[in-house]
């Protein structure tokens, strides 16, 4: 489904602060695969997402999605097939618009009639049913402005916006990191359910090593713009959080410097 070949991204090229954020990264994902990504601060996790979404163009390499080369496709055109949920709950929704209007905007990916009234009654009913499935009591607040919702509720709305028209690729960028533990669990549970329901090809960045190994079907660890390890199947099932930490320090001769990640080590 997703095929990244030899991706290179250098920021501030030719200046003293030149920095290679992606260093010949290649990644192939089968349809329906759920991949989790861990790595220290500045490992290139978010840069990888930005490259896939088209926030910038690569210096080298190619990206293909479902057989289509998207290396030079404009950001908003790629977004047609890519859903992305950010860590910051403010980023994915328009705060001064209602839940219904936000969903309607996302839904327009499927049905774009510029001069029809939005949302139509039929759409409104569909949105209500979909959000009721989340069990977050949002179905009776469809006309509430999203800015009035809690972080967890906003992430739930964003997740629905990203998946209401099932995308070819779902990118989750530490989307539960800013939430309190109970809400984070709830949003993660909704995420798992949604991904299974639509068999979405998914990439999830997380700082929680335990859940990186527990959720999904494959885990990669990134460092300094490269993929260090790639676990799946049997090998992944056997791997523990301590294994990950040891593998990292053995191969890099340094200790993992993601403070949040270390705090989660035993969690």
């Amino acid at each position: 489904m997703l095929d990244i070949q030899n991706a290179v991204k250098v920021f501030e090229k030719g200046t003293p602060i030149e920095h290679t954020a992606l260093n010949h990264v290649s990644l192939h994902m089968a349809p329906g695969e759920f991949l989790t990504i861990i790595g220290s601060n500045g490992a290139g996790k978010s840069t990888l997402f930005n490259a896939i979404c088209g926030s910038f163009l690569l210096n080298e390499g190619r990206i293909a999605l479902d057989g289509q080369d998207i290396t030079f496709l404009k950001e908003h055109k790629r977004a047609l097939h890519i859903g992305r949920v950010f860590q910051d709950p403010m980023k994915g929704t328009a705060p001064h618009m209602t839940i219904e209007e936000n969903l309607s905007l996302a839904y327009s990916r499927a049905t774009a009639k510029p001069l029809s009234f939005a949302p139509s009654r039929k759409q409104a009913a569909l949105f209500r049913d979909k959000i009721a499935e989340f069990g977050m009591n949002l179905e009776d607040r469809m006309k509430t402005k999203v800015g009035m919702l809690s972080g967890g509720q906003r992430q739930a709305v964003t997740l629905l916006m990203c998946t209401i028209v099932p995308p070819k690729l779902l990118l989750l960028d530490e989307h539960t990191a800013a939430l309190d533990p109970a809400t984070a669990d709830k949003v993660m549970e909704i995420t798992k359910r949604t991904v299974e329901q639509h068999h979405l090809t998914t990439l999830m960045i997380t700082h929680n090593m335990a859940s990186a190994l527990a959720i999904g079907s494959r885990t990669i660890m990134m460092d300094a713009g490269q993929i260090l390890f790639d676990f799946s199947g049997e090998e992944r099932a056997r791997t523990t959080v301590d294994d990950l930490l040891r593998l990292y320090s053995d191969s890099r001769h340094k200790v993992l410097d993601n403070d949040r990640m270390l705090l989660q080590k035993n969690g």
Partner: protein, 297 residues
Amino acid sequence: MKLLIGSLQLGLLYGVLALGIYISFRILSIPDLTTEGSFAFGLSVSAAITAAGHPVLAILAAMAAGALAGSVTGLLQTRFRIHPILSGIITMSGLYSINLAVLSGSPNLSLVRAATLFKLIPFLSKNDAMTVIPIVMALLFLVLIILFFHTHIGMCIRAVGDNEDMVRASSINVNACKVLSFSVSNALVALSGALIAQYQGYADVSSSTGILVVGLASVIIGEAVFGRRSVTLGFISAVVGSLVYRYIIALATRYSPLPAYMLKLVSAVIVALALAIPALRQNMKEARQKQGGKAHA
């Protein structure tokens, strides 16, 4: 009585301007200086074509001219990534020359002898038409613009002003939305200028100086009356704000010792005060907290 009616007429005609400014200032959150030029652009295009004998065509042409000016600003901002305020200033400056060119190099044009829209309505005297036309035009465009902002494309524009990243993530062309909304906004501003030219019976290119602050004052006064709740209410409040503004001006010129040329200063002060209120409140709150802290210490 004359004061009441006159302010009603002007309030409604400038209400169309306030609709345009509401789009840029409140929906896109960008004060658009193109307004200063596009109002005069509408005014001069309307006057020139009316003088040539086509008052209805004049209105349509003026709107097209405004839309064109707006899309220039929009393109400067999006495609060429020039700072929003600066884009507006560039277009506005260019329009100074264009407006004079439209009026064949003279800064004003009299329409006393020309057949304006206000003289053409069957069964209505010019005096009645001067009340009826503003009411019809303001209501018509109020309804049209409210409907437009409830369509899919209108909703996209609202979202662009609210959270650009989210709109891009929904696979919508943000730049196209911005250009379109500046066109619509300036088409309305130019329409207001076009109507004013025919209403007054003369066009003066300098009359658009400071027009942005007049529009902002209308929007802000409207919000003081209605609050900020929905777009529908926002547009209604912009027109009502324009009416209230005209009555304030009428009373001020009539009963205050201020000469008429002080009006723009009064408007500027109103806008500055209204925009400063949240910060002033915050300061007062903090000052009170400090006082409280001292009392407990």
